[in-house]
Symmetry: C2
Subunit: 201 residues, 2 copies
């Protein structure tokens, strides 16, 4: 009976809710940029929720026209293009105005300088505020009746409830199902780890 209840709850949760995560500011670099900044390729410190993604041992300073941020997380594996994901609050501190974009969509975005222990890299573009999005497995997307690329409304089941509009659905068999918010959004809704959200019909 106990086991049946647990199983039933899990199945219902998968159909009704999505777990949320908050992403802090972080940097993606190319393999060549990693060599310049750190003199080595990225080395994993711990895995992230998305399979294959990791927090690197290496950290960088991000230098904007009005300020700098030290010890910024670098995520691996390396990518074909460097990218810096900040909250709009971070943007104010650095003197940058990151546009709200999905990861990878960096055309016509501000550039920035990265400083590592072995060298400096100037990105001509790549500073964005990540558009809030939901990573989903094809199975979970089917259960919740949404498609890759769809824009949905998302109600947070948090201490300071909010309905986020313009939330992008991203479906891939390589994903694990999680809502990704930045820290402005996470704090605006009073997010605590483990909190759930519901995709509104």
């Amino acid at each position: 009976m106990e086991e049946l209840l647990t199983q039933l709850t899990e199945e219902l949760t998968k159909r009704l809710f999505v777990e949320m995560e908050a992403s802090g500011r972080h940097v993606h670099v190319t393999s060549q940029q990693a060599q310049t900044l750190f003199g080595t390729d990225l080395t994993p410190k711990r895995p992230l929720s998305q399979p294959g993604q990791f927090l690197a041992e290496q950290r960088v300073s991000v230098v904007g026209p009005k300020g700098r941020m030290e010890h910024v997380a670098v995520l691996g594996p390396t990518r074909p293009e460097g990218q810096v994901e900040l909250s709009l609050t971070d943007g104010v501190s650095l003197g940058l105005r990151p546009p709200v974009r999905l990861s990878g969509d960096v055309s016509d975005t501000p550039g920035v300088t990265l400083e590592g222990p072995c060298g400096t890299v100037t990105l001509p573009q790549g500073v964005i505020a990540a558009q809030r999005h939901i990573h989903m497995t094809p199975e979970d997307a089917k259960l919740q009746n949404v498609k890759d690329g769809q824009i949905v409304r998302l109600k947070t089941l948090t201490s300071r409830p909010v309905v986020f509009e313009d939330v992008a659905i991203r479906v891939s068999p390589k994903f694990r199902t999680f809502v990704h918010l930045d820290y402005d959004e996470a704090n605006a809704c009073g997010f605590r780890p483990g909190d759930l959200a519901r995709i509104l019909p």
Copy 2:
């Protein structure tokens, strides 16, 4: 005709929308605390949107268990009790966990130390994250069919639209009609000065 259109737009705006403002971190002090911190009463630097309220010339440092913030705004006039209004992001930097409260509701909240050029004041309590709220004149509250103390949902007409739940209505003939958000909320919805919001029916 031109004038009629302007007037009509203004009347419709009053019935349908409320202008938003973002409140940065700030401190309220008692008259005695002002004397201790600054050796003088608060002197107005510029008026705020709410009639009689002002940004003071004086600034304080706010010192928490994990960090300090310099040059924090002090708002006047002085009050019967000291209070510090932070965003949850600020709370993380300072090592404090401000509960979400309406201004003035400070029982069982964390304390903090304030440092001024003339002395130091330790508040035994008073650190809050301001609950999002709408200041309204009785006339505007009537036009929008809401009452003092009511909790409403508020849709932002911003670049990153959000529906904020649990928004408190505060009605007084001493107010001017404005939504007040903190900077976590303002950045989560992509607020720019002049943006409007709509109270949802």
